[in-house]
Symmetry: C2
Subunit: 269 residues, 2 copies
């Protein structure tokens, strides 16, 4: 887990966001291409693409997104859908092997999405939740991941293709959100040393003031616990600066090269 | 280790700093009183007082500092000297039981300073270093602390009065400075669950650009590892904001009360 290997999954092309939903509805290719290009240039290792939640339109919308994104960048895509039909169509449209976002302990997802992952050799995000809920304790979340890993291994998916998301609850309503996340991550890492870890960070601070401070603290502590990927806005300079600084402090940035390079590029201005 | 219990040791009254040395030489009481008042108001639990490094003047200078600081605040003092004579005089001048900064594995310090600590029931900072050097590995640092703890226990000093400083090297020249610090802290905590931990943070980033990012990342990760005290500038709003955010994420700030209170007081503006 070297500094340069923390993989950022760019989160901005997400049809559950109003402005992106509008661009999809209006087939505003320029807007989508700009989101793709700017995130790729900012260092995203993957670009999440989510076409929103209209089941009948989702396959068409997702393919439209993919074609536009691929027209301006060769960064691999993270196909973000719970719909196996949309994913099956989307996988045929991508130039590079994608990541799939996501499976979980939900039997339907394991049954319908996991075969696609296995057949195409995809990486896949595995959420530490069951069909019905996000477990409160790390022990329960780890139990879900054991079940998921049993299924992925049975399907022939390599452990190193799994990106476990221990799940981030809002700390304003769940005080132990951070410790439960860190404990889950450490326990899963101990059991499956080859798997990666990712998370959508910003949910931690929902409803609190001065959210960026909480988000940075959470990212820093999660990197310390072993997070090696994150779903975030790669254009958020504060988060990227926090990430680079954490990698220095964790002894993962040889000669502080990434840090000083980012400094010279103006990231800390 | 509740959020409100991370003890800040205010570092600003330090005679090795040029401006403070000048104030001591000129007996500029206003300057010293202002440093004391502002740090106390910013929430320092202790105020470090260091009279500089002139052995023959140190006892007089230290007492002069103490008298001025005590004139404006009742925050307890952290007497910062390697000179047993200066410390003996200073202990007689303080109103409240002070912290002593510091002992280490150096036999002279253990022999001459530890009896003062024991006699007066002081808290004391214990550096994880021997007489000759700062050990490179956490194993060697832990071995030093074992030796120090043997001496403090033999002298009758309570474990809870010990503040172990695992020692912060500059990451620019010692890439593993952070991990060695965290590993030392965790190992000492496992062996001596009652001891506290403190550190001077800013050395981590010496020589690097954009130091505040590194300092905040280090503070955040150190709090995650169990640091419950820190020697820093309590007027540094960025560091205090990082500290409060880390305590939220670590689940130690009930109802996020300290965080939201600091927000309303303008700390994050």
């Amino acid at each position: 887990m070297k500094g340069e290997c923390v993989e950022i999954i760019g989160e901005k092309i997400n049809g559950t966001r109003k402005r992106v939903a509008q661009a999809i509805a209006e087939r505003d290719a320029d807007f989508i291409c700009q989101l793709a290009r700017s995130q790729a240039e900012a260092g995203a290792a993957w670009l999440d693409v989510n076409a929103g939640t209209h089941p009948e339109q989702e396959p068409d919308d997702l393919v439209w997104l993919i074609e536009n994104v691929q027209a301006v960048t060769d960064t691999p895509l993270c196909l973000d859908s719970a719909n196996p039909q949309a994913l099956a169509v989307a996988i045929e449209a991508v130039d590079k092997t994608p990541m799939i976002n996501s499976i979980s302990g939900e039997p339907d997802r394991l049954e319908n999405i996991l075969p696609l992952v296995a057949e195409h050799g995809c990486c896949v995000i595995a959420l530490a939740m069951s069909a019905t809920r996000v477990p409160e304790t790390s022990e329960e979340r780890v139990a879900v991941i054991h079940k998921v890993m049993e299924a992925t291994r049975a399907a022939g998916v390599l452990d190193e293709h799994i990106y476990v998301d221990p799940l981030v609850m809002t700390v304003g309503t769940c005080l132990q959100s951070g410790p439960v996340f860190f404990d889950t991550l450490r326990a899963v890492h101990a059991a499956y040393p080859e798997v990666h870890f990712t998370a959508g960070l910003s949910n931690i601070s929902f409803g609190l003031p001065a959210r960026s401070y909480i988000n940075r603290a959470f990212l820093t502590l999660a990197l310390g616990a072993g997070l090696d990927s994150a779903i975030l806005d790669p254009l958020d300079q504060d988060l990227r600066a926090a990430l680079l600084a954490a990698e220095v402090v964790l002894g993962r940035d040889d000669y502080c090269l990434n840090y000083t390079r980012a400094y010279r590029a103006g990231l800390f201005d």
